[in-house]
Amino acid sequence: MAQVAAQHKPIEAHWWYRTRQALRAFAPHIVLFGYMLIALFPIYMIIMNSFKERNAIFGAPFQLPNAETFSLIGYETVLQRADFITYFINSIVVTAASLILTLLVGSMAAYALAEYGFKGNTLLALYLSIGIMIPIRLGTVGILQMMVNLSLVNTLTGLILVYIAQALPLTVFILTQFMRQVPVELKDAARIDGASEYRIYWLIVPLIRPALGAIGIFTMIPIWNDLWFPLILAPSTKTATVTLGVQQFLGQFVSDWNAVLSSLTLAMVPVLIFYFVFSRQMIRSITAGAIK
């Protein structure tokens, strides 16, 4: 017994070692928690204040709504304007259509670039990735002229086309890398089994689902939040998106802050839903390959 106790002693003597280990493991979480506070604070402020009276928003912006200051006037204003439902539908249509088409067309292009060793393959890949380096907004004037010529101004189609063009370069670039990682033998097996090239492409898509999830998020958020192109290409009441719609509550002289905060809160909801759907895939893709 005495011997056993003696053996245990040195470990107990180093109790501080364990504490230090625990601290070390905890430190990153303190940093992450701090970052989370900074990131979430504006969102918290928007949501909280959207449920308050106008005077309370300015008088005591950090105070939680109470019985006296609670008010839904912002939401009433937003929902009373029938246009706002249209804006929401427009945003969802534009974002969803751009997203689906980007992923479909982008993954097909990536499959071709990764799978076929045709002449000019590298050149084409480079050409397609120029868009990563040059922001599409530089071409706004040209795009507007083109849209006018095609009579696509004030249409959702016009917006969708621009957004696909905006998202494609990075999508093709990333997906090509992922397509390359799919084992050649798998495609060969499918070829011998008698699958057409389209069928093989379709067979591979589930294997790169994590990458599709990640690109889904990266593509969706800028489109949903974009103010630039809706303002320039589709500012009519019929085609405006939520982000553009919010602007009508912001005037040069008067701003309806209740309505602004309420509409922004509402605009967050679909983004959050989308994010939760895609984020599981994205996290898998970020960690994929890190640990075998």
């Binding site: 011998i192 089994d193 294997l207």
Partner: protein, 366 residues
């Protein structure tokens, strides 16, 4: 069920010639093994036959049909890959049924064939599982099953046992041989493992650097290798080679190389006479070097002095690594022999089974 013909087939990748003027005539129901070191072009040859690579020149025939411009799916072949290449998101059943579904085979027919193949391979209980839930051996069998259900004219195997552990490999080897007997179909099998080739093949084609070295039955390849490469590649431990010169003295021919001084038997004098004064390589397999005490009677034995370097006890035999001057060689001797490190010993070479190669052309002289 069909024969397969490689007729002057070339495959070039830029400047590299992967397959160089390959000519093989594979009979119906034959089990042909293509064997060679890594990167020798054997897999490329198989992929050309499958239609996964276009050939640069020549013709490939399956049966009487030239298939140069026929798509893989229309060649009526099935292939088992080294990595098995199972579709990861499909169940075992769907993996096996995939090819048949694409060919619009009736559902009941698909079901029958999959069940039958699963029975043959003993994977009936795994049909609902996904590939990731299977062990390596099970995945391998599913890959074979996927080929069987197609009932193709020719089966292609691309190193299907490389990813299995040693014990399973031996078992699966026997199973594939059995499968060949059951299915009575042409099998073409690529491997770098000469043991696999020897144990399963009805004929072996040895390939090196894109060139066909020799094609024959396993026993003939072993007993009568055409050249130095085949001699060294087939057999384990490999054949011993002694660089030497063919000399004549007192009306007898000798193989001379440093400490080696071996008399050519009289009955073969005429074969080697033209090589007098030329550089040759003398080859002898480890099992043809004996401990004089246990040498089989009636062989044409020639004594050679050597020093023991390492001994490896195998139980049923002993591998003795020996040195003699600048030569080192291996003998596979009777387990009753006792050898010690650095001991000077006398071994005997069985001259009935010796091989002599021209050092310039590396061709066997006989």
């Amino acid at each position: 069920m069909a024969s397969v013909t490689f007729d002057h087939v070339y495959k070039r990748f830029g400047d590299v010639i992967a397959v160089n003027d390959l000519n093989i005539q594979i009979e119906d129901k034959e089990f042909l093994v293509l064997v060679g070191p890594s990167g020798c072009g054997k897999t490329t040859a198989l992929r050309c036959l499958a239609g996964l690579e276009e050939i640069s020149d020549g013709r490939i025939l399956i049966g009487d049909q030239v298939v140069n411009d026929v798509a893989p799916k229309d060649r009526d072949i099935a292939m088992v890959f080294q990595s098995y290449a199972l579709y990861p998101h499909m169940s075992v059943y769907d993996n096996m049924a995939f090819g048949l579904k694409l060919r619009k085979t009736p559902k009941t027919e698909i079901d029958n064939r999959v069940k039958k193949a699963a029975d043959i391979l003993g994977i009936g209980h795994l049909l609902d599982r996904k590939p990731r839930q299977l062990s390596g051996g099970q995945r391998q069998r599913v890959a074979v099953g996927r080929a069987i259900v197609r009932e193709p004219k020719v089966f292609l195997f691309d190193e299907p046992l490389s990813n299995l552990d040693a014990k399973l490999r031996v078992e699966t080897r026997a199973n594939i041989s059995k499968l060949h007997q059951q299915l009575q179909t042409t099998f073409i099998y690529v491997t770098h493992d000469q043991t696999e080739a020897m144990t399963m093949a009805s004929r072996i084609a040895v390939i090196n650097k894109g060139l066909l070295q020799q094609i024959d039955t396993p026993q003939t390849l072993y007993d009568r290798p055409d050249n130095l490469f085949v001699a060294g590649f087939i057999g384990s431990p490999a054949m011993n080679f002694f660089p030497a010169k063919m000399n004549k003295s007192d009306g007898k021919l000798f193989v001379d190389g440093g400490t080696l001084h071996i008399e050519i038997p009289d009955d073969r004098m005429t074969i080697f006479a033209p090589f007098e004064g030329k550089d040759v390589i003398f080859g002898i397999r480890p099992e043809d070097i004996h401990n004089p005490q246990f040498a089989p009677p009636g062989i044409d034995a020639q004594p050679v002095e050597a020093i023991v370097d390492v001994t490896e006890l195998m139980g049923n035999e002993i591998f003795v690594y020996l040195k003699s001057g600048e030569h080192s060689f291996v003998a596979r001797v009777d387990p009753r022999s006792r050898y010690h490190f650095d001991e000077k010993v006398q071994m005997v070479f069985n001259m009935d089974n010796m091989h002599i190669f021209d050092r310039e052309t590396e061709k066997a002289i006989r």
